[in-house]
Symmetry: C2
Subunit: 241 residues, 2 copies
Amino acid sequence: MIDKSSPIPLYHQIEEVIKQGIEHGEYQPGDVLPAERVYAEQYQVSRMTVRQAITNLVNERYLYRIKGKGTFIAEPKLEQNLKGLTSFTEDMSARGMKASSKISKFDIIPANRSLAEQLNVDMHTPIYEIKRVRLAEEIPMALERTYIPANLIKGLSEERVLSSIYKYAEEQMGLKIKSATQTLEATIANKEEIKLLEVDQGGAPVLLMKRTSKLENGQTFEIVKSSYRADRYKFMIDLER
Amino acid sequence: MIDKSSPIPLYHQIEEVIKQGIEHGEYQPGDVLPAERVYAEQYQVSRMTVRQAITNLVNERYLYRIKGKGTFIAEPKLEQNLKGLTSFTEDMSARGMKASSKISKFDIIPANRSLAEQLNVDMHTPIYEIKRVRLAEEIPMALERTYIPANLIKGLSEERVLSSIYKYAEEQMGLKIKSATQTLEATIANKEEIKLLEVDQGGAPVLLMKRTSKLENGQTFEIVKSSYRADRYKFMIDLER
DNA sequence: TAAGAAAATTGGTATATACAAATAAAATAT
DNA sequence: ATATTTTATTTGTATATACCAATTTTCTTA
C-alpha cells in the first residue's frame, strides 16, 4: 500500500489511503480514525510523517482533530460549502421564523428534450419530479422543483424527501455528490409561480436559483430549480478579509 | 517580539509577527519573505517551527511558496474571494467578449438619510457618487452605482476609477478592506435602468447586487449597487466536492 | 564575452525524540 | 456502589538533524 521507494512523498501516499477509506465508506462521518502512532507503526514511518498527511486532510476538511480524543471523519464538504449561500431553513431559523415545506407534486415522468439534455440521459427516461413550496410562518417564500433520474435512486418516497434526499442517496444508495454548479438569475413569475407563491399577476419578479449536482463519475445526479419571491427573499454572501 | 516562556505557541507568535508585517504594509504583494532559516536564526527557534508558522499562513492564503525561490506575499484575500462569484470582466473575457465600461456620472453629493444610514456617516456628509455602465461588445449589461465617503479617499478621479478603486485606496491611502457583505435580489427595472440598460419599459426584471465593504476599524468604505439585465446575465457559483 | 559547470540558497521530505495538555480508562479508597 | 486518584492514550508543540530538488548566483572555461 505504501511504497517507500516511490517518488511520491510518503505523506501524500498516506493521504490517499485515508481518503480512499473515507470515500469507500469504510469510515463514516463522526467515526474516529486510528491514532497517529498506530498509522506510524502500521506503515513503518515516523509519526511526524503521518501527522503531515493528516494535517493536510484536516486543512481540506476531510478530517478534524480533538486534542486528547483523536482524529475524526468530517461531514462531506458540499453541505458545508452550500452554507456559503445562506440556506432557506437556516436563514429562517436565524430570524426566529419557523420554516416548513409542502410537497405539491411527487411523480415519475418521462424526460422531455430539455430535461434529457440537462440531466444527460436519453429522452423518455423516467425522472422523479418533486415540487415543494417552502414556507416561513406559513407564508410561501419559494417554489422548488427537483429532477432526479429514477434509476439512480430507487425507492424514494415523500417521507424521505421531507428529511434529506442527499443523506438517503449517500447512505442507502452509496452515491456521492462530487460537485455542484449554482446559478442565480432574475425572472418574472410564471403562472405556476403566481399561483403557488401567491404573488401578483402583473409581472412579479422572482429570483431563480438553479443547481446542477454531479456524481464522481461525472453523471448528473439532480437539477434543482428554486424560485424565490423577490419581495420576500434575497441571497446573502459574506466575504471575509 | 517572541516570548519563549509564553503559553502561546511559538509558531503562533511567529505567524502574528509575519501577519502584522503584511498588514502594516512592510511587505507588498509579490515581495519575497526572509528565508525560513533566517527567521529561525533571528528568533532562535528551529527551522521546523518557523515552517509550521509559514505553512499555516500559506493555508490561509497570506503567503505562497515556490521551491528553490522563496516564500512570497499573496494578493489580499478579498479579491480572491470575490472571484467565487464570477466577476463581470472575467466572465466576459472567458466568453471571448470584450468588456468595457462608461462612466455616466462622477460627482460629490451630500448624503441623504438613506445613504448616511448605510455608510454610517452624518447627513449631508460629502459622498462620491460614481455611476458606470458595464458593456460587453458595446451592449449594456449592467448599471453600477458606487458610493464612498469623500473624506476617505481624496483625489479620486475618473481615470483612477477606470483602473481600480481598491488598488488606489490601498496603495495611496493605506486603506485596507477587511470584509464585505453581498446580497443578490430580483427587482423590476426603474426609469434610470430602463434608459441606461436599454430594456423594455414594461417591467423588465433585473438582478440587483449590493455590496457593502468595511475597513479594519469597522467603518463602511463603500456601497456598490449593481443592476444586471436579467435577460443577459446570471451569477454562477461552483461548489467543489 | 559568452557558455557551461560548480557552489550556494531556498523550500520539500522524512526521521527520531521529548515533553505538554486534554481526555479516557483503570485502579483505588471511601 | 460511588467518588477520587492514578495511569494510559491521544493530539499539540518544539527541537535537531539529514538529505532531496529547484532555483539563483558565482566561478571557470572556451
